[in-house]
Subunit: 306 residues, 2 copies
Amino acid sequence: MEWITVFSPASIGNIGPGFDVLGMAIKGLGDTVQARKIEKGIIISSLESKHPLTNDPEKNTVTLAAREVLNQLGINGGIEFRIKKGLPIGSGLGSSAASAAAGAFAANYLYGNLLTKEQLILPTTKAEETVSGGFFADNTAPALLGGATLTRTLSPLDVIHLGTITNAKIVVVTPDIKILTEEARKIIPQHVPLKDVISNMAHTASIAAAFSKNNYAFFSKSLHDVIIEPARSSLIPGFYEVKQNAILAGADGVTIAGSGPTMFAITHSEEIAEKVKRIMIETFQKNGISAQGLVTEIDVEGTRLI
Amino acid sequence: MEWITVFSPASIGNIGPGFDVLGMAIKGLGDTVQARKIEKGIIISSLESKHPLTNDPEKNTVTLAAREVLNQLGINGGIEFRIKKGLPIGSGLGSSAASAAAGAFAANYLYGNLLTKEQLILPTTKAEETVSGGFFADNTAPALLGGATLTRTLSPLDVIHLGTITNAKIVVVTPDIKILTEEARKIIPQHVPLKDVISNMAHTASIAAAFSKNNYAFFSKSLHDVIIEPARSSLIPGFYEVKQNAILAGADGVTIAGSGPTMFAITHSEEIAEKVKRIMIETFQKNGISAQGLVTEIDVEGTRLI
């Protein structure tokens, strides 16, 4: 049978204030998966990854998501996968979500393309839950649809596709430390003062308006999170110094990507973006931590055949 | 000197989940103000109001807002006002904000029209603060601009004009009870469980997207407030019965307008709207409370010359 090749982009959950609500896909990083029909079984015949990763089909989100889709369609066939893991694991860039999205997309495509991308969000999110320990769509939905998404409710799962911001530059810097999603969730305050609720509601809504209207000016002022960032920043050595230096270099906003440790900054200027990337990496290095950086944009396509 | 006539619409603060963040203007109710230049002093020469209301220029928001505008412009002239109060006071429909918006608009128009409506939000909100006891733009901004607005921050005051939803029908029902804004604020929880924060953030952002995209489908599912409504509903006898009956009659969402006691419901259908209005009024009556209702739409113009 013919092989197909599917790419699924990295994504930034929360987009700052929108904890468990917002997410956006970014260009330049992602997972690539080759897939073909086989008679039975969902298997991984090859796996390329810089970091240790299981090829057990009961534990890898590519195969878990593919199984969810075939189960949902009531199809009894099989799929063979070859996985090229492009995303670092546990970095806060939606690694397991990208793999799940690619697996779900491939399974649907190989077996008649009966589901829309919107309909793939549920099986993809179920598969990611197995690995991440929580049912959240803030990485799976943007990885599938591209642009930014808003999870209105988890039960039933209801996701709004917001749109994109064409002229936003996104600076992504990943320090070489590990944060587990579960650990990052434990540190979050369980009760929030009303004034902080109002601030995060306002900035989350402002980001939703920015993506709905393709308006960078609104986005530029809205990367302001007074609930999650103060807690999670303690897991990233040098966080406030990196943030301050990025702002001084011209970034309009800087915060944590998903559950971290990746940080991201926004600007409208390619030149500022390069400067911000450099200073963020240097500041991590001054704190004794090596870091990798990337200047990128919002990915509007989401998971796709390549 | 020539008289001008200014109309400013009623508005619904919060729009459900967006406490102190969202607000929208509605058609069919509002305050009308006539104004003309005089040599000095800002005075009220006539006041028509169904309810007791001060004509003391130091206490009425029409004149307070006019003074703020003239002070801001550094103008030493005067204005004579004739006020026709169309809005009930203390109903949750932005009565003092509509008056303030009309006063600010008139003062600016009579003295050279130097400020934009956006620039009138600050003096209007300062004037309203004197009466309402708090500095909030969720009624003043939509009363001025029309459509729906989002207050990103209060200090500095930064408001985003979201847009409108053309095919939304708004049912407004005001029971004959009084709730003071200050009293309605005291009852609100000062700490909020994280899961409720996430829910209100998601629904507030979803309303922002709905107005940004002129999308009633998004709006229809988003009038869901788990923070303020559970507290403030206790001030409105029969609240849950009225809400339930409205939903049974076909409303897509029902909650409190601003600090109440007015309740509002949304639907896309004129026919359902009339049915919902009737059942809401009847349910209040069964609870021993008379009520007035109106089927209306979103006002897109805001404060204007008529």
